[in-house]
C-alpha cells in the first residue's frame, strides 16, 4: 500500500522536476532563479526523505541560502530588458541537441531499470540504521579520518576562490563608472 514515505517521494519528485524544467524554460532569468530555489529546497527535503538530515540542512544553508541568493543578486545586477530579447528559446529548435539529450535520457532510464529495478534487494527502503545524530557523527568521523586530505584541499580551494573572485571583480570598467 502506498505509505507516507512513497507519497512524500512522489510529491517532492514532482516538485523538483516541475521547477527544474521551469529553470530551463523560464523566459525571465529571475523566474528561473526562483524556480531553482524551490528545486533546491525540494532536493533538500529529498535528502531528508533519505534520512540524510545533516546534508538536508547543509543543502538548505549552502545551496538554497547562499548560492541561489548570489544568482538572484547578480541577476538583479544586470538589466534584464536586454536579456529578455536575447532569450534563446528560438534555439530550442536545434534538433541535434535535443536528440542527443533524449537518447542519453532514454539510455539512462533503460540502464537503471535493467540493473536496479529488477534487483529485489534495493526495493524496499531499509529502515534507518542509526539515529540521525549518530549518522551525522559517522559522517563527521569519516570526513576527518578517511577524507582528511580532501578536507584540507577544500580549505585551500576556498581560499583561492576567494582571492580569485575578488581580483576578478576588481577588473576596471565597473558597472558604474563612478565606483570602478
Amino acid at each position: 500500500m502506498l505509505t507516507s514515505t512513497d507519497f512524500l517521494f512522489y510529491v517532492l519528485a514532482f516538485i523538483s522536476v516541475f521547477f527544474g524544467a521551469a529553470v530551463v524554460i523560464a523566459r525571465n532569468p529571475i523566474y528561473s532563479a526562483m524556480s531553482l530555489v524551490i528545486t533546491m529546497i525540494s532536493v533538500a527535503f529529498l535528502f531528508g526523505a533519505l534520512d540524510a538530515w545533516f546534508l538536508a540542512g547543509v543543502q538548505l544553508i549552502v545551496y538554497a541560502g547562499a548560492v541561489t541568493v548570489l544568482f538572484v543578486m547578480v541577476l538583479m545586477l544586470f538589466d534584464l530588458k536586454h536579456e529578455m530579447k536575447t532569450f534563446s528559446k528560438g534555439l530550442l529548435g536545434n534538433g541535434v541537441k535535443l536528440i542527443a539529450s533524449g537518447v542519453t535520457l532514454g539510455m539512462l532510464l533503460v540502464y537503471i531499470w535493467s540493473t536496479y529495478a529488477t534487483e529485489p534487494t534495493f526495493k524496499p527502503l531499509p529502515p534507518a540504521a542509526t539515529s540521525s545524530i549518530k549518522a551525522t557523527k559517522d559522517l563527521a568521523t569519516s570526513l576527518f579520518t578517511d577524507y582528511i586530505f580532501a578536507f584540507e584541499a577544500i580549505g585551500a580551494l576556498l581560499l583561492i576562490i576567494a582571492v580569485g573572485a575578488v581580483t576578478l571583480s576588481r577588473i576596471t570598467g565597473g558597472t558604474h563608472h563612478a565606483d570602478s
Binding site: 512522489y10 535528502f47 541577476l75 544586470f78 532569450f87 530550442l92 535520457l105 536496479y116 578517511d146 580551494l157
Partner: protein, 108 residues
C-alpha cells in the same frame, strides 16, 4: 495490483530515475540557454541531480562515503558558481549583456 505496488514502492531506482531526469534537464538547459547565469544555474541543477544519486546510493548501500562526496560536490559547486558569476559580471561590464556568445571573444 502487485505490479503497481511493486512499481510504486519507492526503491533506489526511483531516486535514480529522478536524478537522471534532473541531470538531462540541466544538460538541455546548458545547451539551449544563451544567458550565462542561466547556464550556471543549469549546471547547479545537474550537480544537484548527481547529489541525489550519491545520497540514494549511500542510503541503500549503508555507508557514509556517498554523503561525504555530496559534501565535497556542494563546495565545488558553490566555488564554481562564485567564479562563474564573477566572470559573467566582468563580461557584463564590458558588453552590457551576458550572452554566452561573448565568451567567444576569448577564443585565441
Amino acid at each position: 495490483m502487485p505490479i503497481l505496488d511493486g512499481a510504486l514502492k519507492v526503491g533506489l531506482d526511483h531516486y535514480l530515475y529522478l536524478s537522471a531526469v534532473l541531470f538531462v534537464l540541466g544538460m538541455i538547459g546548458v545547451m539551449m540557454r544563451r544567458n550565462v547565469v542561466v547556464i550556471l544555474m543549469c549546471i547547479e541543477l545537474m550537480l544537484n541531480a548527481v547529489n541525489i544519486s550519491f545520497v540514494a546510493f549511500s542510503r541503500y548501500a549503508e555507508n557514509v562515503n556517498g554523503q561525504v562526496m555530496v559534501f565535497f560536490v556542494m563546495t565545488i559547486a558553490a566555488a564554481e558558481a562564485a567564479v562563474g558569476l564573477a566572470l559573467a559580471v566582468t563580461v557584463f561590464k564590458k558588453f552590457r549583456e551576458v550572452n554566452i556568445r561573448f565568451f567567444e571573444h576569448l577564443k585565441g
